[in-house]
């Protein structure tokens, strides 16, 4: 592969992967409110 293609591939992976990592980190820092989880299955099930 040419250096410019390798560079662009790394930038693409790092940008999108970094965005995903940050989004996941944000969710981890704000865990789900377990108290608000539904307690039972919907009756029609």
């Amino acid at each position: 592969m040419t250096p410019i293609a390798i560079t662009m591939m790394i930038i693409a992976i790092l940008t999108v992967g970094g965005g995903l990592a940050l989004a996941l980190l944000n969710l981890k820092r704000h865990p789900e409110d377990e108290g608000a989880l539904p307690e039972e299955h919907a009756p029609e099930l």
Binding site: M1, T2, I4, A5, I6, M8, M9, I11, A12, I13, T15, V16, G17, G19, L20, L22, A23, L24, N26, L27, R29, H30, E32, D33, A36, L37, P38, H41, A42, P43, E44, L45
Partner: protein
């Protein structure tokens, strides 16, 4: 609607409606939303669009489009569905009565998409099996259009059924109906929690295998080498915005419906960011896998990558079978590729169907099983009657082109304009997002939704309109395009208005929904404090 209004509502005396289903956890919602967004387009459309619009340089307009239009529109859908807790028609009706037809329009768009989308899954299912025997021999194109689809010489309405497509399609519909009948938790959540991880594992294996093929580096050079001059071309930016709208499953009811199944206090924007970037991550992965394989194909043919590059049906059912025949361990590669198409297709198809099922449940007050069976059965019947025929490919091609341009895109434009400019509901929706989410959407979000998104959509709709009006689509007969293209697109709008005027059942949630009512009361109390 106040609680007093609910008490005096016509359905107040009726039996309490079934409690609305929910995703049991945020993780399952995120998996299902990613499963919906990651579809066939990620695998067979994005790589070509990126290559054709500047290669590595396309990353810039792509990310700009993602951040300025895709994600804002995704959050708009989330806000509508979650705040008004209903299927698309019910949610828009609760937002404002005049907005209800928008919801029905989205439901009808989903009906058309579901009918033909299942057919491609059926083809992929058969090609997964064909990979073992390389049934296409030395002529993948001739086999696909001739022996497999038995495509008629000219477009038309024909009922010459092709058993090799009909029976796999029937199988796909049976599997999908089982998932739909099982409901949100036991069906959709469970299917996504199994199929999505499987899809990712299979696709990663496919990418790894492709990277070790001779010529893969040349394919990646073609994909990632930037053409910076493309950034000065407006059509490249339009392609980026166009792709993002289709890729994220926004603007046609799916995310409105899915977010309505979230529990009350859920981090909408935080979850949405994961969905958006996971979808983009899969697209980049697909680009690497597809172009590594195309690089191998080009080398084997003694041609350049630009000579073999293609997209859509041509990539999946002509180029890839050729690669499977030539590559070492080709059968494994075929199973991984076509299996990925099946899994990506099924997780998207169930999300499209859910838009219709939820709408029928809400409108008629039906239970899950009845609504799923009737709706899925009806879509399956249309799908089985029209598409596994010798003329099915022409019908699929035409309905796909017109429902994308004048169903999804035009529908998204009208929805955004009505919400942002006519009803001016963005401050209300922004407040809802910010009340429960970690990443705040304030003035910038409203400017993007009210300004950038409509501008991009106007450009897309008008260029599609000009292109489709200037020449008859694909040179098909005018009556055929008029009926299944323009006629179908126009009929969706008329039918949406008709469905709006049909009264909601007395047992529907539009009249009597204690769950929604108590939520509204709580919100009113919180606002008053």
């Amino acid at each position: 609607m106040s609680s007093a209004a609910a008490k005096s509502s016509p359905g107040a005396g009726a039996a309490a409606p079934a409690k609305r289903e929910t995703f049991s956890t945020r993780r399952l919602f995120i998996l299902s939303a990613i499963g919906s967004a990651v579809g066939l387009g990620n695998i067979w459309r994005f790589p070509y669009i990126a290559y054709d619009n500047g290669g590595g340089a396309f990353l810039i307009p792509y990310l700009v489009a993602l951040l300025t239009a895709g994600i804002p529109l995704l959050f708009l859908d989330y806000a509508v569905g979650h705040k008004f807790r209903g299927s698309a028609p019910l949610a828009y009706r609760r937002l404002h009565r005049v907005a209800e037809p928008l919801g029905w329009w989205q439901v009808l768009v989903c009906f058309v998409i579901a009918a033909y989308y299942a057919v491609i899954i059926a083809w992929s299912l058969m090609y997964t099996l064909f990979s073992f025997t390389e049934a296409w021999g030395d002529d993948a194109e001739g086999y696909f259009f001739g022996s497999f689809l038995r495509v008629a010489e000219a477009p038309g309405i024909g009922f010459s059924y092709v058993p090799s497509v009909f029976f796999p399609l029937l199988l796909v519909w049976i599997a999908v109906i089982v998932i739909m009948v099982a409901g949100i938790r036991k069906g959709i959540s469970r299917a996504n929690s199994i199929l999505l991880p499987l899809l990712v594992v299979m696709f990663v294996l496919l990418v790894v295998q492709s990277l070790f093929l001779p010529g893969a580096a040349e394919g990646l050079n073609a994909f990632f080498t930037p053409d910076w001059s493309a950034l000065a071309d407006p059509s490249v930016w339009a392609a980026a915005y166009g792709h993002i709208f289709f890729s994220l499953s926004v603007g046609y009811g799916i995310m409105v419906t899915y977010s309505s199944y979230l529990k009350r206090r859920t981090d909408l924007t935080g979850s949405g960011m994961v969905v958006a970037f996971a979808n983009s991550g899969f697209e980049i992965l697909a680009g690497i896998g597809v172009f590594a394989a195309l690089g191998f194909m080009a080398q084997a043919a003694g041609a350049g990558v630009n000579d073999v590059v293609t997209q859509g049906i041509g990539l999946a059912f002509v180029a890839f079978p050729t690669i499977v025949s030539q590559a070492p361990f080709g059968a494994v590669m075929g199973v991984l590729f076509f299996g990925s198409l099946v899994f990506a297709g099924v997780t998207s198809l169930i999300s499209v169907l859910e838009v219709i099922v939820a709408a029928v449940q809400d409108k008629l007050g039906w239970g899950r099983i009845k609504a799923s069976l009737v709706v899925s059965g009806l879509v399956a019947a249309v799908s089985l009657a029209l598409f596994p025929t010798a003329t099915g490919l022409y019908l699929l091609d035409t309905s796909d082109a017109f429902v994308n341009s004048f169903g999804i895109t035009l529908g998204a434009l009208v929805t955004v304009m009505v919400l942002a400019w006519f009803l001016r509901k963005l401050p209300l929706l922004s407040a809802h997002l910010n009340h429960i989410s970690t990443i705040k959407m304030r003035r910038t979000w409203m400017v993007l939704v009210a300004g950038v998104v409509p501008l991009a959509l106007i450009y897309m709709v008008s260029s599609e309109f000009i292109s489709k009006i200037s020449t008859t689509y694909e040179g098909y007969p005018e009556w055929f395009v008029g009926l299944f293209g323009w006629g179908m697109a126009g009929a969706l709008v008329v039918l949406a208005l008709v469905l709006t005027f049909i009264p909601w059942s007395r047992t529907s949630k539009a009249h009597h929904d204690p769950e929604y009512q108590s939520m509204m009361d709580e919100e009113e109390e919180e606002t008053a404090r």
